[in-house]
Amino acid sequence: MKALKYLLVKEYKQMFRGYLIPALFVLVPFALTNLVPRIATQEVSNLDIAVIDNDRSSVSKRLTEKISTSKFFNFQSLCGNYIEAYDLLQRGDVDFIITIENGIEKNLYREGTAKMMLSVNSVNGMKGGLGNNYLTQIIMQYTKELNEETGYSMASPMNIRPRFLFNSQLDYKPYMIPALMSLGLILLMGFLPALNMVSEKEKGTIEQINVTPVGRLEFILSKLIPYWTVGLFIVGFSMLLAWKIHNVVPAGSIFLVFLFAVVYIMTVSALGIIVANYSDTMRQAAMMMFFFIIIFALTSGLVSPVSSMPDWAQEITRLNPVRYIIAALREIFLKGSTFTQLLPQFIPLCIYGLVTMTCAVFSYQKKQ
């Protein structure tokens, strides 16, 4: 292992010889923790709504007011009839139509019930669903208000008092930042060692190394260690950005974040080396890595939760190391879980780390 030191010196020199790769080490965490959580938010706002008020009473007017002052809705127009409103929906000017029936005030006070119709454009299912929930909430709150004012008890179907645990504001950022960190790590730590290794093959420099007494473990470690150090820097830097920009800090231990990151970085970088060992050109290696990263990212729970996938798909995601790191980091960031609570994530990650590292070393053949 004497040569490892010199191999590492060479790798670090080459890494910082150009300015593009070091720039990536700063740009990727910056974009993923600063920019993306602002854009790719799952909070829905600015929903366009049209109201058809057939009653024109004080009750209906107050409801219209409530909707238009809500932070979720943009009150677009007050329509005379459904055809007019539907026309707006067809044109894409509104996505929600609320129809208040004639005599709502009278019915409310006499019979204790009133009817309203809600039409939702559900081309975008998530937007429609969430908007529907917001509207229901507004109406329920309004009902409560009316009850208190009049002292008249109106039958409410249910009394729902949601209490959101661990993320009371339903803030999207502490949920997404740990996942985005994992994505940034697989992007850099998977691709870069793979491309580095294949470029030695393409340029033929690997031939010169192969005729030296340098061992394969030494050589593979010299390709991985520089990226491991960079990976840890990226984790630290991302957490710093999340704290300074979004005031998102892990509820749990920072040490745990690093512990999981170490195992995860080891796994994805070794995966990159395995891909490189079986590729002859940059193109092959890059396409293979794209395949892995896209499949891993989409089945990791980054976009859609693992628990809402079909059963067979949930089983398949067990093969995906990204699933475990995202789950673990989210638990640490939001719940402040302890190490023992995270063992179901830690053990599979460690297994993947060991398997990929062993394969990376043994799939590298100095001799054909």
């Binding site: 040569a3 020199k13 340029k203 420099t205 010169q208 190394i209 005729v211 100095k366 001799k367 054909q368």
Partner: protein
């Protein structure tokens, strides 16, 4: 003493479909320059890769510096210098960094073996802070040779070191090799597709289609050429070759640059051939007897 001995070496590619080496036997003596001469696809690089422990042979044995290429490859890697046909140093590192890197991976330093590379490295030392990728072709080659020498190898393997190099640099390169041989008694195995470089070697093997046609000193190969060899020129060289091949008494005829080389029977004389060519309408006919070159010997052995 033999520094390399190879016995009945076979290697195939594509599951046996392509035969790269069909049973090669030879020895390289300590302190000689041994040349592998042959056209592209003769199997030179395959042989090099087996001897440098980068490729496993299908059958046969090979020993380099007393070690077996299959079982004791680790010992071989410590004692050989290899310069692949393609420039394969780190282009994004400087001249000095490359040399220092290759010294350190062999657990040595530039200072320790500087005497070996001094002559060659001195010529590129003014550019030692330049990146290897920015060097001219000739300088790259000198750097590659320095890097292959810096750990004081016992044998140097040079795979087509002069391919794509200008004639002046080629001449310089061979002078460097001769110096290494005389000053340090270094054994060198070199391959080349250029027949004219064969004369620079102590012994050569002519290689074709995965086999050795002959192994001898260059002079020995020329001496064993028994045919009568003539060179023929005329005003219409293209038609001449076809006509020469049809002529009775001409055994072989090949185009060699500006003239055609032919081997003839004892029955054919200068005057008889000249008369035949005049009858066929040729003008400016020149016929001379020449001593064969290595290329002539190669063509002869090939048939």
């Amino acid at each position: 003493m033999n520094i390399i001995s190879v016995r009945n070496l076979h290697k195939t590619y594509n599951k046996g479909k392509t035969q790269a080496l069909k049973g090669v036997d030879f020895d390289v003596r300590q302190g000689e320059i041994f040349g592998l001469i042959g056209p592209d696809g003769a199997g030179k690089t395959t042989l090099f890769r087996i001897l440098t422990t980068l490729l496993l042979p299908d059958s046969g044995t090979a020993q380099v510096d007393g070690y077996d290429v299959v079982k004791e490859y680790k010992d071989i890697r410590r004692h050989i210098g290899y310069m692949p046909g393609r420039f394969s140093l780190y282009q994004d590192m400087t001249v000095e960094e490359n040399l220092a890197f290759f010294a350190t991976v062999f657990n040595t330093t530039i200072q320790e073996n500087y005497h070996l590379v001094e002559d060659i490295y001195k010529q590129i030392e003014p550019f030692k802070h330049r990146r290897a990728g920015k060097l001219s072709g000739g300088m790259k080659q000198k750097l590659a040779l320095s890097c292959a020498l810096i750990h004081a190898p016992h044998v140097l393997f040079l795979d087509e070191p002069t391919t794509g190099v200008d004639p002046v640099s080629r001449k310089e390169f061979w002078e460097m090799l001769q110096k290494l041989k005389t000053n340090f008694h270094l054994s060198i195995v070199v391959s080349t597709p250029y027949m004219d470089e064969a004369m620079q070697c102590d012994r050569i093997a002519l290689m074709q289609g995965g086999e050795f046609l002959t192994i001898d000193t260059p002079q020995g190969i020329i001496n064993s050429y028994t045919d009568t060899l003539w060179t023929v020129r005329s005003d219409n060289m293209h038609r001449l070759l076809t006509d020469l091949r049809k002529t009775e008494g001409v055994k072989t005829a090949f185009a060699f640059g500006e003239s055609h080389h032919i081997t003839v029977d004892a029955s054919l004389t200068f005057d008889a051939l000249r008369q035949k060519l005049i009858d066929l309408g040729y003008q400016k006919i020149q016929i001379e007897e020449i001593t064969p070159s290595i290329e002539d010997c190669f063509m002869h052995l090939q048939n």
